[in-house]
């Protein structure tokens, strides 16, 4: 019987409850060939069922042969995550039935994966990586109505594309760290050149496993967990996790236990929805894949892979920029956007060819410009010209500007009011006020951005 006392007691405990989140991320490798057959792995956007063969279509008699490049890239990801690389490894069959799984089993790895026990630092905290392993992707299911009947439709172009699965220890306890981890992981795989990791294209998929423990003092894991799927963008990550945490907390507050299941994030409804009951966990009947002989690496091979990675990691790129005297914060922001970093490198390399007379931007100045401006659809010469013009404008630091902006807003509360009421034109007024105080020529674009940021 839940007495008022018990409920309030529970609430108190929940305030001190533990959030336990573990993350499973699947990364699609951008190899030329699929994981186990010769079909092109570049399947996205092509006509359905045009990138298949007997192997990835699961036709009778077809056999898998692993893609060497995919294996090496999986090891590279593991090394980037500071994992141990056991020298002996193998593939296993994961047996279950689903229409998008043509063989009725997925070739994956069970007890001897390629990489184990790594760690990654994010937001100043260390998170454990349980394992990194290889598997093949399934076909793609879509749903619709054909002749008034509800049907599911299958395209096997994606079937057999190489996937690397990265599983973290259940070390996360808030959505912000999760997002930061994802962003770092995305950078790592992009800079390694092994994946484009575009979430919207499904090249990087996140499945958090979320549970809450009422027992703050123990480190035991709760006896349930909920897996959340269908989180297709960074934007959804925080929303989905926070919704799910709230949902579970409400259930626990009632004295009940959340059902162990898989749920999907529904963006239109802004909530997670139950998908399939995880039950006793599907009995996958794993056994060693008899069609694929095991893999045995040598120390030299692993060393070679490590060697190829030198200088490619995001940290390395940040260090390079800092060596060029780009500020730490700019360096981090630039590296977070690969396209902008490419532009930076191109622009920077051109500075030595600038003829006398026009100003020569420093690395930091180039970085400032790229970070604050939208530069799509501009050619390199155009961008360089814009940077040089902006240099003739006074260089007031962003921090100085921000101070002045805050003063202006404080002294003119109506600006904030009008902005919130939707009167965007009030920004022009604010710009004028700031310029009046500073009395120097300032890039109004940058100023506009900073003011807008402050108002938000």
């Amino acid at each position: 019987m839940l007495t008022k006392q018990r409920i309030s007691g529970m609430r108190e405990r929940l305030m001190n409850s533990r959030t336990i989140i573990g993350l499973e991320v699947h990364v699609e490798l951008k190899t030329k060939r699929k994981m186990f057959c010769n079909c092109s792995a570049d399947y996205f956007g092509h006509k359905p069922n045009t990138h298949t063969c007997p192997v990835c279509l699961g036709l009778p008699g077809a056999l898998p042969v692993p893609n060497k490049q995919a294996l090496e890239w999986c090891i590279a990801i593991g090394l980037a995550l500071n994992c141990e690389i056991p020298l002996f490894s193998k593939f296993d069959r994961k047996n279950y039935f689903y229409p998008d799984l043509p063989k009725g089993y997925q070739i994956s790895q069970y007890d001897q994966p390629f990489c184990l026990r790594g760690k990654i630092e994010v937001n100043g905290k260390k998170f454990g990586i349980t394992r990194v392993h290889m598997e093949e992707d399934t076909g793609k299911l879509s749903h619709g109505k054909v002749e008034n009947e509800d049907v599911s439709l299958i395209d096997f172009n994606r079937s057999g594309v190489p996937l690397v699965e990265i599983v973290t220890d259940p070390d996360f306890n808030n959505a912000i760290d999760v997002k930061a981890y994802l962003q770092k992981l995305q950078q790592i795989v992009r800079y390694l050149g092994v994946s484009d990791a575009d979430m919207e294209k499904g090249q990087m998929r996140l499945e958090p496993n979320i549970s809450i423990s009422l027992d703050v003092n123990s480190t035991k894991l709760p006896n349930y967990k909920v897996e959340v799927k269908n989180i297709n963008s960074f934007g959804f990550v925080e929303k989905a996790i926070n919704f799910e945490l709230k949902r579970q907390q409400e259930i626990l507050e009632k004295g009940e236990k959340p059902v162990q299941e898989t749920r999907g994030w529904d963006e239109s409804k802004q909530k997670t929805v139950s998908q399939r009951l995880k039950e006793e966990a599907n009995d996958y009947r794993y056994f060693p894949e008899p069609d694929i002989p095991p893999l045995r690496w040598t120390d030299n091979e692993i060393a070679d892979i490590k060697e190829k990675m030198k200088g490619k990691m995001p940290e390395d790129k940040i260090k390079e920029l800092i060596n060029l005297e780009v500020s730490q914060s700019n360096a981090v922001l630039l590296v977070a956007n690969m396209n902008k970093l490419d532009l930076f490198n191109e622009l920077y390399s051109k500075t030595k060819f600038i003829k006398g007379g026009t100003p020569i931007p420093t690395a930091n100045q180039i970085s400032n410009y790229l970070i604050n401006k939208v530069v799509e659809h501009q050619t390199i010469p155009q961008i360089m010209h814009s940077i040089q013009s902006s240099l003739t404008l006074s260089s007031v630091s962003n921090d100085e500007l921000k101070e002045v902006i805050r003063k202006v807003l404080k002294n003119n509360p109506k600006i904030m009011q009008d902005y919130k009421a939707g009167k965007k034109s009030v920004i022009q007024f604010a710009i004028g006020q700031v310029m009046y105080i500073i009395r120097k020529k300032i890039d109004t674009e940058i100023l506009k951005k900073l003011i807008t940021d402050e108002l938000k």
Partner: protein, 93 residues
Amino acid sequence: MKIDVKHVAKLANIPLKNDEVKKYENQLSQILEYIEKLTKVNTDNIKETSQTTGLENVTRDDVASPSLKQDEALSNTKSKHNSLFKVKAIFEE
């Protein structure tokens, strides 16, 4: 050794009629009884053999080659729509 035929059939995605369950239960139990022989064998410190070739590291380079044509891929199905394989709706929600 009794086998839960209904559960196994479900796992194996084999549709069984009720009268079949008993029959398979008997046959499979008989077979399992024979197989129990193995429990008598001493296999301490013996490694498993899953491959008699002793092969390792058989891989292929990352080179793609042409796939089946779309009509070839779909040529054996009885149920398709707009070049997609069609099945009864799978409800995820």
